[in-house]
């Protein structure tokens, strides 16, 4: 921070955040984060999903109140009760999900919430001012159009206009390109550079290395709620950033037995799928996972990993290609069929896809076994509670009572519960997505050792993780995914970390023998 202070003499910091701590139940989203933004710079906030980027910026925008820490705007300490206070200090934010009223015109949306306008004259003046702003920044939008008539890219421009209209000097963009086509992305960058040239400052939240290297001046990297680096764009590289984001230091020493590889269990052939926005997310992916083998899928988040896992468990329809489990094609199978084929699944979104938080722990423990625990139409709760009790004991899920709602468990115990449920069925294929993300050291080590135990039992494991260290220490082979494609497959033994980093950043691709 001493260098920053020296720097400040020449270029004052518009925003200065110090020691920001923000916790949510069971999670430390920001852990003593320092962040400073200079006048006239585009500052990228880089990190994986859940690294705490959006939380930090929501604190700056007044949406969250930090547990501790200090915010200074133009050198003055401030506290925000709501975004209104942030807006008054010329801070604007564009969220991933736009905050626009669909049934209102562009002009109405832009002036919504401003009190300075007269009732009748305001509209016309506002419209002229919007047209003028739009022309100046090349934001092609007709102020008379209604929001529902606009494409997603245009709606984003309305959001930017809203901020410019409020004379924002600091503009925060949260993953702005997630919804854009490549030409729209180029236009956005032009707009951002124009704003920078006028001395405005921009915070650009992203996990896409390519864009960050393209548009930013300086970069702050967050990992697990902490700042791991603050670098100038000119002095770094994509590969370095990729390593910083996912972490490389090997913390865990796990004993890994000699692999005893058997026949293929999961065979994937030229599989493609779209994301929720109906954009291609997975392109022609092919691989196989064999008995007794862990195939690690490495990559920066948002490169198709989530879609891959969802397609393989039947939750998302493939748009092309096919896959088979145990030699049987299941490309169009329902989740029920795949569950019945004894496939274990540890989803990336544990709470959203892996558990029913409002139900008792007992119910979640039997969720994949309740049909076997039933006689006819009746579920035998006494057998079920013996079964659940056994799992909770074996996997050391810490709870005073398994009839308590599942939401009373901590993050590590939630994951133990999922693991218990999935492994108790002795799955022939285990799909584990981000199995240790956000967990403390103890839980992480436990879960990794359990995954290795499955491997030594001869089960096939697909490990999808953004944590390169995890991939390196667990996998037998590593496939690198970038923009929905497998750009390389290497044996984990003697893998070159630099090379994997480059592939994750999209700078290197291996010729695949196929």
């Amino acid at each position: 921070m001493i260098e920053v202070a020296a720097d400040a003499q020449t270029q004052p910091n518009v925003i200065e955040m110090r020691g920001i701590v923000k916790t949510f139940p069971g999670v430390v989203a920001n852990d003593h984060v320092d962040f400073s933004l200079q006048k006239g710079e585009i500052h990228a906030l880089l990190g994986e999903n859940g690294a705490g980027k959006s939380t930090l910026m929501n604190v700056l925008y007044g949406l969250y109140r930090p547990d501790s820490g200090e915010i200074r705007v133009n050198g003055t300490a401030v506290t925000f009760d709501s975004p209104r206070d942030a807006i008054a200090l010329k801070i604007g934010m564009i969220h991933q999900h736009f905050m626009l009223v669909q049934a209102m015109s562009v002009t109405d949306n832009v002036i919504l919430g401003l009190h300075t306008q007269g009732v009748l004259i305001g509209e016309k003046t506002a419209e002229n001012k919007i047209t003028e702003l739009a022309e100046r920044y090349g934001l092609k939008v007709d102020p008379k159009n209604f929001i529902w008539q606009l494409s997603v890219g245009e709606q984003q421009r309305v959001e930017i206009l809203k901020a410019l209209y409020r004379e924002a000097n600091v503009l925060i963009l949260d993953e702005p390109t997630a919804v854009l086509t490549p030409p729209e992305t180029r236009d956005l960058f032009t707009i951002l550079r124009k704003m920078r040239s006028e001395g405005r400052s921009i915070v650009y939240i992203s996990h896409k290395l390519e864009e960050v290297m393209n548009v930013s001046d300086s970069i702050t990297v967050l990992r697990a709620g902490k700042v791991v680096a603050n670098v100038k764009k000119a002095k770094t590289s994509k590969a370095e950033l990729a390593r910083l984001m996912v972490g490389r230091e090997v913390i865990f020493r796990l004993s890994k037995t000699e692999a005893k590889i058997g026949t293929p269990v999961l065979e994937v052939e030229r599989l493609s799928a779209s994301n929720d926005m109906k954009m291609p997310a997975l392109r022609n992916v092919s691989f196989a996972v064999r008995e007794g083998e862990i195939l690690g899928i490495a990559g920066v988040s948002g490169n198709g990993q989530r879609e891959l896992a969802e397609v393989l468990v039947g939750l998302r329809r493939a748009t092309g290609g096919r896959f088979a489990i145990g030699g049987q094609e299941v490309t169009t199978a329902t989740p029920r069929t795949i569950v019945d084929m004894n496939v274990g699944f540890i989803p990336e979104d544990r709470v959203g896809l892996g558990l029913v938080m409002g139900l008792p722990i007992l119910s979640n423990a039997i969720m994949k076994r309740y049909r076997d625990l039933s006689k006819g139409l009746l579920l035998d709760y006494s057998v079920a509670s013996d079964y659940a009790g056994g799992l909770i004991k074996e996997f050391d899920v810490k709870t005073p009572n398994m009839r308590y709602p599942t939401k009373t468990l901590s993050g590590g115990n939630l994951q133990r519960l999922i693991l218990a449920r999935e492994l108790a069925r002795e799955p022939r294929l285990l799909i584990a997505a981000q199995p240790t993300r956000g967990l403390d050291v103890g839980a992480t080590e436990y879960i990794r050792s359990k995954i290795l135990e499955q491997r030594s039992l001869g089960r096939a494991i697909l490990l999808i993780s953004e944590d390169l260290d995890e991939i390196l220490s667990l996998s037998d082979r590593i496939a690198v995914i970038y923009e929905g494609e497998i750009v390389g497959v290497v044996p984990a033994e003697g893998a070159n970390v630099e090379e994997i980093g480059l592939m994750m950043a999209g700078s290197k691709r291996m010729e695949l023998a196929s």
């Binding site: 896809l353 119910s363 009746l378």
Partner: protein, 355 residues
Amino acid sequence: MAGFKITVERRLLPSRRLEIAAPVFSILVALVISAVPISLGGVNPIEGYYELLYGALGNKLSLTETFAMFSPLLLCGVAVALAFTCKFWNIGAEGQLYCGGLVAAFFAVNAGGLPAPVAIPLMLVAGFLGGGAWAAIPAVLKVRLKVDEVVTTLLGNWVMYYLVSAILFGPWRNPKTGWPESPIIAESTFYPILVPGSRFHLGIVVSLLIAVAFYIILKKTKWGFELLAIGGNPASSQAMGISVAKQIILAAIVSGGIAGLAGVGQVAGIHYHMKTDLSPGFGYTGVVIAMVGGLNPIGVVLASFLMAVVVQGTQAMHRATGVPWALAEVIQGIILLCLLVGIFFTKYRVRMVKA
């Protein structure tokens, strides 16, 4: 308020003591509040409440009438609670009640040759299927086309109401009386009266059996487990192999079918005709009952009974003391509001904290 803020947190574990104490306390508070308008109406509140209780529970006639009101309320409450358990927001019990009544009446009017032990079960099946079919439409629309069922079930009530009216004013108008009501149903389909000289009919037993069935479904069956899981998190349920769409459609049909049984009860236990005013809004009150009862079978039984007592009692108070009829409805409203607030406190903890 300087320096203090009120925070509301969800309780992780609801307290059993509070779950019993809160409704009792709420009702007491409601009675205290209601005393004000009753006094303004020129009646001593103590006397008013005596008439209320006596009119609902005081003698054989009032007690059996309260039970006759309890039966359709309970069926509608269970119908809504079952659908709400898996987050199928069925606001259409009223229309399903009419549809069930219509189909059952159509069967019952033409069931002349059948003995009662055959005719009555068949009539129940007819009413169940009628209500179930009417609920299946919004369920399929929701599952296949993601059409919001709150809108479709609610609007379906009006469609069914006017459909029934069109049929009863048109082709099915009672030929003998000329009233817009169906011909009288076959005598073998009359619900037996279980307490002589009253309207305590078989339907009251049917509704209690349905409530018991709802308890068994939720606490003992695979299906109930699936409904609870879907209600808690449909995405997780799907991922764990529950056929969410299928179960939602099934729940909607069963829910509509139970509401249809309420229609059967009104036709075969009370009116012996299909009528345009078969229900004064039992289906809508069912939504309130399901919520007040916390979607819990025992809670729904208690809430339905309370509702029946309040409705019968306030009517009696109106007759006996001359307080305006509107006041009876005001008191009903106050009791429900107090109960909902009371239930809020069993789920959330409200605290003052230093800002």
